[in-house]
Symmetry: D2
């Protein structure tokens, strides 16, 4: 008897290429007599009268395991909404290898056989929680699994940002923006900005400036327990915005402050026992590939 | 008798801090019995009934030397509009050292004494000419002294660009953008993007990607005679724009092509004989500064 | 009554510029009626018949606090030999600011007044322990406070290194070398190699390749509990060496393996309460300095 | 009747894998009734009594075209010794694609048919000429096709170098070394040091520091007509050396000066008409490869 008896399926509704994988998954789960809950996206793909689309809240209440079918982005989205429920998640990729969704659709039955029998690795990942504060009032807040990014909007000018770590002044940057990334996000936008790779097991956050107009910059890695505050300077700053995992842009005004801290709940990521992060780094980023 | 008998003055109208410098300059030039033409910006600061603001065209027709008072940006602007006139330009900085405007207001009389007596260096700088082509029609064109920048607009997604050099496929980039910079521009936005410094005497252009999502990137320097074409890929590209020296944004659509070549005319930059580019690099960028 | 009643003094014997500082320190400590032990270096500078140079072992046995006068290198050296004794250390810099020795000689009395009265911060730093294994035998071992560096020797050729983390294959590098650095070392040689800054509170290690001949590289930060193994490949490798904090070079042969793990003891670094790591970063590296 | 009637063959003697290619080449050239001269390396592989190994000088005197079989290193070596003879060179690679030797052995007959009938591209590459001056006396000199590299020897300490360009002070570097590279060398060691790619048509030189201990560095590209001088500082510098294309190390003393200028002769590189530098960049370096 598996510890996972009710399985949730989450996917991106508009992507028809996922349909085969989702149907196979349901057949497999039914063959194992497991209870299945599907989100709206999976319900649309399945068109199965027995499987009505559920809200995330209902899935959170009843599932023992959530299987996300899609790309890293789909899992990022699910993770932000489900992290506080503490339900383990498993990512099945859509053909292209992902950092978070590295189970291939072809292997899904074999992999699930093992996972349901208790042979799996559980990896804990943290998310960031960010608040946008204006005149002392929180005007927006969000979770971020990859990164919180403050960025100039639509004009070719630099913004000026003061950053504080645990209340202590860190620096002032004139740049296109600033990325605050988790280890999970260190292979996403922070990589494009020139940041280091952080192993997912690290309880650390990296701050990577985007196109700073200075030679004297270098990313800094700080403890994930740090409270980070980014203040938009008053001096003639062009329009800026903040985004969370590339979503939910909030327009910023001078003097706005973005307060970032670790989300208290950890995401539980289920992985096959032979999961190898370094192999994914090499395969997906061609990291360290020899010429 | 100086080769420069009619001197033009160009400045930024709204910057009152320039007023003293412009007044001193006019006094100096009058004391030398030189003819003076001023642009609208200088006329506003001077409020001198004898000095009516002239159009750039009139200045181009009559002046032997243009003195630009302000920052690098003011000189960039003047250069774009006057490059084809071939009139030499001299930059007087407003207090903060610039790469192009490195004559200090305090030194202006001594420097001009020498320049008017023929003791000066003349440096030639090239500009870029860019055309934006949509469905075979040129929808916009501009000169650029620093750079032509294609950049994503206002969203946290990457654009995909195909670049060709002299009709030959160079590469495809998924990035926030792409900078095509002159040597003059190599210390501006291209520097923020991680590009090398190009000595102003080089007839070369550097292509610097902005936040490419790949590890395998590196700026490339090509001959300034190259014809460069940047094509916005059709695949679901987010809104993009192109800017010229950070000005005159043009919104781009998929399949738009930006064609870049060297402007045929060279800008003639007049400098004191002791002008030292490397010293400006060290002083302004703190380049190679020892710890 | 201070918790620190026996104070040890360590310094570099050959540096006469330290003499004033060491004399002042002894006068201060005598005025407080504290017991003083000095190492050979300090004894030579002091020429005080009451203060005979002690071995590190004796100092470790009797001191409650060690004051190191000199530069970061002097403290690195003392830390390697005294880390297992767990005695707190305080660094007094010789005029030039250090990352580890940031108490100025001018402030020493005021700073010590506070520290002796219990007003101080205690920071824990970890060291690395490295073993060089040849044919199954440990041929050398050392502590490193900054870094363990494998590097090619004296020829312009690349070495090839296979790296494993916790027994798992990480990558193969063809490069001039490989730096394995602590957070303390992240502002030393690892910085020159392009690595990120790691806050000293992190329990993390960064691996930074030196001049890798590939575009696909990027430093990686891993947990400090990781066991790291670097194997010199058999394929025609040029002569290589390994060094520890830039000291104690060991010549390497193909198939040699360097095994690196965290030293079990933590160094206890005593700092004034107003110690500010970010300020030292900005002051010493000019990190994030605006143009 | 081809303009190339006497063909020289140069190869690395010790590499038996080249034997087939060299034999095929000779058969092909004999079938075209062309005169053949071989160097010692090719003679050893061929063991043909009609083809006695010639000196480089004799080959330079009689050949119309030199075919180099091997890797980029073999062509670098031949280029340094033959550049002043102005004989065109063609590189045949040994299986692994090279930047300079990009004709595949399998294509050699078809490619040579075209080249001998006049269908080819001729590319001109410049070399550097370097002199090591001690106390006013030239103690060593060499050509370099890729780069002149000043580097610390065998110890983990930095050297300090003052660089001058056309007699003007450029900067002082504390680093592991300094690379002065041609466009040809920009994809070799200079790439490992973080330098930009320079298109081979550029008449430019790039200066790339090796592991500078400062944040404020950035490679600089200067005109190839510049005279570059690198002075080893007097201040306690560790042992250093200078190498030319990774060959011919010369040990340096404090106050030694390395004077670098463009070699007056250009190397004539013969290429198939469909030769595509950008394709080689992408294929060999995986430059700009998409994830």
């Amino acid at each position: 008897m598996s510890e996972f008896s009710t399985i949730g399926l989450i996917t991106k509704p508009e992507d028809a290429r996922l349909s085969d994988t989702v149907h196979s998954l349901v057949s497999y789960l039914k063959s194992k007599s497991l209870d299945i809950l599907v989100d709206q996206g999976a319900a649309i793909l399945l068109q199965d009268p027995d499987l009505v689309g559920q809200t995330r809240q209902d899935m959170a209440r009843h599932c023992d395991l959530i299987i996300v079918v899609g790309g890293d982005g789909t899992l990022l989205h699910a993770a932000r909404s489900l992290v506080s429920s503490q339900i383990p998640m498993l990512g099945v990729n859509r053909g292209r290898l992902g950092f978070l969704v590295d189970v291939s659709p072809d292997d899904i039955a074999a992999v699930l056989d093992k996972i349901l029998s208790g042979q799996y690795k559980e990896e804990f990942r943290f998310l960031l929680h960010a608040e946008v504060v204006r005149d002392g009032v929180v005007i927006a807040e969000s979770e971020a699994f990859n990164d919180v990014v403050v960025h100039v909007r639509d004009v070719v000018r630099m913004i000026e940002l003061d950053t504080y770590v645990d209340g202590r002044y860190l620096n002032t940057q004139r740049a296109d923006g600033l990325i605050v990334a988790t280890p999970t996000g260190s292979t996403a936008y922070a990589l494009s900005g020139g940041g280091p790779i952080l192993h997912p097991s690290l309880n650390a956050i990296v701050l990577v400036p985007v196109c700073p107009h200075t030679l004297t910059n270098r990313p800094i890695v700080v403890d994930a327990e740090s409270r980070i505050e980014i203040k938009v300077c008053e001096r003639n700053n062009p329009p800026a915005r903040v985004s969370f995992d590339g979503q939910a842009n909030v327009k910023l005004l001078p003097k706005d402050c973005i307060k970032i801290r670790r989300q208290s709940h950890l995401l539980r990521l289920i992985q096959p026992v032979n999961h190898d992060y370094f192999e994914i780094l090499r395969a997906k980023l061609r990291w360290s590939e020899q010429l």
